[in-house]
């Protein structure tokens, strides 16, 4: 869908990994001044986000304007850090950085920004750009040992798939410590003497995180909907011998609904829909949806069977794609469900289309 080039939803816990900047140009962040260190002046950034930051994250979420949303890698300061202050490591995806600095309002510290090509921590760790080598390189490049006396860096836990902490420690002398999954938990983590309890370490996939992905899923399903629309127009053309726009639009409505079921309803109700397989959940919800609309308005046997064959297949496919956004599906698991789901979806949809020409 969308050639799988989705934009990053940017929620930056675990999120869909696609997107990233299309240009090399970095976004500007307001600098409040400088902190003097043995490695030179370090720019101080505000822990408060401005209107532009909020607007930017909103635009990213809806995928408007694929402008660069990365910041310049390097070292930054928050508050008035000294050489005993902690160092937090971030991706150079602006939304990761913004979330972090917002959480650091009451902590004087340094932020070491890695070059993750403008991609969030989790996704960059999976790709290896938020990784062992980059961290080693960046620690050396900014002369971190001249800036702080304590040889320790605090990494977001979600960076762990990319970073071998023991190797970083061996190569740089700086010991990586894994902080909490969510930046909001950092103040508590620091208060507890840099210990993350199980809750801070666990990734969940709560309603709020699922629903925030809705715009992203809607945009992701547009390609599929376009295909459905074109097919419907052709079928209508074939049947009525003329292009009846109004007719086509009306018969398209149920398809729009099935995409909504897959992109919004199932993600929102994910834990409550029976089954473990995403495609199955989508198919089941789609089937229920057909039953409901068929009950409200029966379109005739042929069309009803077309609905039964195509609409749940559309929902199933869209929900299957939601595995990329979910925070608990494994590669082996998704591969396994795709092996049976994709052929079934395709066959079901094809029979549904052919049915129309009989």
């Amino acid at each position: 869908m969308n050639k799988f080039k989705k934009v990053d939803c940017g929620c930056d816990t675990i999120a869909n990994c696609c997107g990233g900047p299309k240009t090399e140009k970095h976004s500007q962040i307001a600098v409040l001044g400088g902190v003097k260190t043995k490695a030179g002046d370090i720019p101080v950034v505000s822990a408060k986000l401005g209107f532009k930051d909020t607007l930017g994250s909103w635009r990213m979420r809806w995928g408007f304007g694929r402008y660069s949303y990365s910041i310049e890698p390097g070292i930054y300061a928050v508050g008035k850090p000294k050489n005993t202050s902690p160092v937090f490591v971030s991706a150079n995806y602006k939304m990761s950085f913004d979330k972090l600095r917002k959480a650091l309002a009451d902590i004087d510290c340094f932020i070491l920004v890695l070059d993750t090509k403008g991609i969030n921590v989790w996704c960059a760790a999976g790709k290896g750009t938020f990784g062992t080598e980059e961290l080693i390189k960046r620690i050396k490049a900014v002369n971190l040992e001249k800036i702080v006396a304590r040889k320790q860096v605090i990494l977001p836990q979600l960076g762990a798939p990319g970073v071998a902490a023991h190797i970083v420690a061996k190569k740089t002398g700086f010991k990586p410590v894994y902080g909490p999954v969510r930046a909001e938990d950092i103040p508590l983590f620091m208060k507890k003497g840099m210990k993350a309890d199980e809750k801070m370490r666990s990734v969940e996939f709560p309603f709020k995180e699922r629903i925030v992905l809705a715009p992203f899923e809607i945009i992701g399903s547009l390609k599929l909907l376009t295909v459905a629309f074109v097919l419907l127009s052709v079928i209508n053309l074939f049947k009525s011998g003329g292009l009846n726009i109004q007719n086509t639009l009306c018969s398209f409505l149920p398809y729009l609904g099935s995409a909504f079921v897959g992109a919004v309803l199932v993600p929102a109700l994910l834990p409550w829909i029976p089954g473990k397989s995403f495609a199955y959940k989508g198919w089941l919800a789609g089937l229920l949806y057909v039953a409901v609309i068929g009950n409200m308005w029966f379109p005739g046997t042929t069309v009803y069977f077309t609905w039964l064959l195509i609409l749940p297949a559309i929902s199933a496919f869209i929900v299957l794609n939601f595995t990329g956004c979910s925070t608990y599906t494994s590669l082996s698991g998704v591969k396994k469900e795709m092996r049976y789901a994709i052929p079934l979806i395709v066959v079901s949809a094809l029979i549904g289309i052919v049915l129309n020409f009989l």
């Binding site: 869908m1 989705k6 762990a160 397989s277 990329g324 599906t329 698991g333």
Partner: protein, 89 residues
């Protein structure tokens, strides 16, 4: 939330494990606990194959084929004849 059962490729070699506890700290799904000074897999079905534990186990006690659990990525990989990966960048 649990995903499909018995699919994860995660394997733990108890003989190599020193019970250092690093895997507990990096796993986002609380897959491990320490019992009798060794890591134990509590529930394999919570594993999302992110690879964080393997990456950070300095004793090579863990093995997992990590990757993205993402249908679009797998399709993209299949079309390009590579491993599953995000088609982005």
């Amino acid at each position: 939330m649990k995903y499909l059962s018995n699919v994860s490729t995660l394997r733990l070699q108890a003989a190599k494990c020193t019970g250092c506890g690093v895997c507990l700290k990096v796993c986002p799904h609380a897959v491990f606990v320490i019992k009798n000074k060794k890591a134990v897999i509590v529930d394999l079905n919570f594993c999302m194959e992110c690879g964080a534990c393997k990456m950070n186990c300095s004793f090579n006690a863990l093995e997992v084929k990590s990757g993205v659990g993402c249908a679009a990525g797998i399709i993209a990989g299949a079309l390009r004849g590579t491993e599953a990966s995000c088609l982005c960048e």
